[in-house]
Symmetry: C2
Subunit: 457 residues, 2 copies
């Protein structure tokens, strides 16, 4: 039995750090989403790059799948094993290795979470901006090409990863990128790995770009008579080039869920939540320009504050959006989906989606990072009603097709995982075959997260 032999070999150098306990297998069988659990055969907890390489070499020898694991906060089940194998849990590789304030970069192990990193950075005046909401690991965020609320200003993981150390499918260790801010020296292997969902390599070190904590941060919220007014305000704000640090949309249903969950008193209307970074003067100027746009679109008086408690409360509310919405229907489960469209198509994409959800009878609040043209529907289903999951999947399906029809993408930030693989052919055409060619070139045995991202299962 190759599996039994592989696990014996792994145990020989990992000892207790190779686990086959039921609780460990169960934990690593699931994501935060609705997909049925699929456990690995074992979970390895490496502590060094060399151990990761040895795990991969061992699995390669026996043809056993290897799946990377960060914090398990994925929404598309990227880290669920489809064919068993060994899950490599990076929670023990969670050290910040080197902070270089003069160069505004940092090298971390993949198990460091974004909040832990920002905690360590606190004394430096620098921060890492990419913020998908969950306290995800930076390895997982890199592999998903995560983004979130601050992308409109600071970019996604694509823009903020300078380089990797990575273990290839045959156990070789490579370094991609340099610490220079740009390079024209060959294929961009860093960008190829960002968003590869563990199918091309396991990353063991990540060098990230940092940003200066702005002198002044102010944030605010305002309500709009309807969704079209809100999204038109977003479009105009982006087109005017006002340097928003965040610009988030919450539909009326979401606002009501916030009220119930956090005791706020938001109007039963769509809202925008925004943040400005800069000097006190520039932030005030940006806020004034934004307030004019809000007024032009019939929005409520735009109230903003640079007090840190008020800001923190605002974004805590936004970050708890998923949980607030879940709590609005006790016992419900959520099918979460995300799409991203060109900004000019955003009003239409949201309007059509809302109409479609309303017709389905399911509650489906919408919220999102509308400055990027990216939004999510959180479709609430009753687990006791078997038709609900199918209705929700149909809605998600039409959202993905709508995004493609409008020139966008089937996933702005949650990744392909299990939920979006069905759209890869439609989105990429023969480009999807090229992805398969690249995968086979780098992992001819198909041991790295098999069944994900490229054609075939």
């Amino acid at each position: 039995m190759p599996l039994a032999q592989a696990l014996d070999d792994l145990q020989a150098f990992l000892g207790e750090r190779l686990s086959r306990s039921k609780s460990d297998l169960d934990l690593h069988a699931r994501s935060e989403s609705y997909f049925p659990p699929t456990p690995p055969d074992a979970v390895a907890y490496p502590e060094t790059t060399e151990e990761v390489a040895q795990i991969v070499r061992t699995c390669a020898r026996y043809g056993i799948p290897v799946i990377g694991w960060g914090t398990g906060t994925s929404l598309e089940a990227q880290a669920q094993p489809l064919h068993g194998g060994v899950t490599v849990d990076f929670s023990r590789m969670n050290r910040v290795l080197d902070i270089r304030p003069a160069d505004m970069d940092v090298t971390v192990q993949p198990g460091v979470t974004r909040e832990a990193l920002n905690e360590e950075l606190r004394a430096t005046g620098l921060f890492f901006p990419v913020d998908p909401g969950a306290n995800a690991s930076l390895g997982g965020m890199a592999m998903t090409r995560a983004s979130g609320t601050t992308t409109v200003r600071y970019g996604t993981m694509r823009d903020n990863v300078l380089g990797f150390e990575a273990v290839l499918a045959d156990g070789r260790v490579i370094r991609t990128g340099t610490r220079a801010r740009k390079s024209s020296a060959g294929y961009d292997l860093t960008a190829l790995l960002v968003g590869s969902e563990g199918t091309l390599a396991l990353v063991t070190e990540i060098t990230l770009r940092l940003h200066g904590i702005p002198e002044s941060i102010s944030a605010g919220i305002c309500a709009f008579p309807d969704m079209t007014a809100a999204t038109n305000a977003v479009m105009e704000t982006i087109q005017m080039g006002i340097p928003m640090a965040r610009i988030e949309f919450a539909c009326a249903q979401t606002a009501q869920a916030f009220n119930a969950y956090a005791g706020t008193a938001m109007a039963d209307q769509p809202h925008l939540m925004v943040e400005f970074h800069g000097s006190p003067e520039s932030a005030a100027q940006d806020a004034a320009r934004f307030a004019e746009i809000v007024a032009d679109h019939g929005g409520s008086r735009f109230q903003w504050s640079s007090k840190s408690e008020e800001r923190t409360a605002l974004w805590a509310m936004r970050h708890n959006g998923y949980y607030a919405i879940l709590a609005s229907r006790p016992g419900a489960r959520a099918v979460v989906t995300d799409i991203c469209v060109p900004i000019s198509q955003l009003p239409r994409a949201i309007e059509e989606t809302q109409t479609d959800i309303a017709a389905s009878g399911l509650p489906g609040p919408i919220l999102g990072h509308v400055g990027d043209g990216n939004f999510h529907a959180i479709l609430l289903i009753d687990p006791d009603k078997p038709t609900h999951l199918d209705i929700a999947k149909d809605l998600a399906h039409r959202m993905a097709e709508r995004a493609l029809r409008l020139g966008g993408t089937c996933t702005g930030e949650h990744g392909v995982g299990l939920g979006k693989k069905a759209y890869m052919q439609a989105e990429h055409g023969e480009g999807w075959d090229v992805m398969g060619q690249l995968k086979r070139a780098m992992d001819p045995q198909n041991i790295l997260n098999p069944g994900k991202l490229v054609r075939g299962n």
Copy 2:
């Protein structure tokens, strides 16, 4: 003879747009740099994507090399054929296909030059910022991962290409990316093609991100007592997060060359040339903060202006830097090299380079995009002195090794071409082998710009 047959087949559908004239072959045999010319066997002038695909399919059938060509302004001879074959000159594919102001993006054919694009954009209030100096084609800029003076603010081609239409080595046509501002849907084929120097595909359409023309642009110049003071001022400016749109270094020799070429009266000292984009208030504020840093480092009074004539004159001077330096030694030829280092290593990298050049006896002015940690040496050689080229190559060699030793890259923006291939192993280690695996996966016959970028010739 496969070549003769291939050319017959090409002639059948290209007619006079397949050229074998000596002047055409000579023109496509060289770059702007010192490499000896190497002509193709023929030059094709396609007008449509389908014609490009048919050219590639024809060459694939006979195993004939295919080399893409933009404007020939490359400094590392990326577009020089090493093994003959057919050069695909994109000068007839020079249409701006679709400007979408609401989405701030544009789709162009690869033969459009950056100046032609900005001319067409003039009425929209938008511009394309990447500016390598030469009026290069956007296809060439994408394939080189070009950058330039504005990268510190607007990024390189990596950051500004949203997607491609591209012809693969077997003639298939793919589309990469979407018009959404971000996506997590699979491998980033767009980023893989940016900087691939025509070795993975020929791009036939490019969708580019545009930016709003800032309300106010101001620019200025100041002199420093020595290079260390100037580069320390750059470091501090970047670390303070002052949003510079350009921050360029010119050494004392360069300043003297400007004086002789353009009749300016710059001091015989190192200079910084900078630009600020924003509102009139923010630009004034940024300029004031920068002026303080300049004063702290002993710089001359920082003089700036928002008048467009003065700005234009300043950047015309900077853009003519190469020609001004060439003109400073009549009859001289130039070996131009570029490296990029982490910003903290910039003073050391420039200092060691200047010392090395001084010891060599060759004139070698230094200038560059120091906000990115990127600079160039323009090593002037007398073509009648055979030792000069070797001395210059030795200096360039030590610059590349120095960049790698300091955590940087052997080329920040000129690309690999012929001059930097020797450093790919040192810079990427086994990562260079991975690039070879990717190349073989996408071009198993090795017909796309053979001999470039990956191992082997």
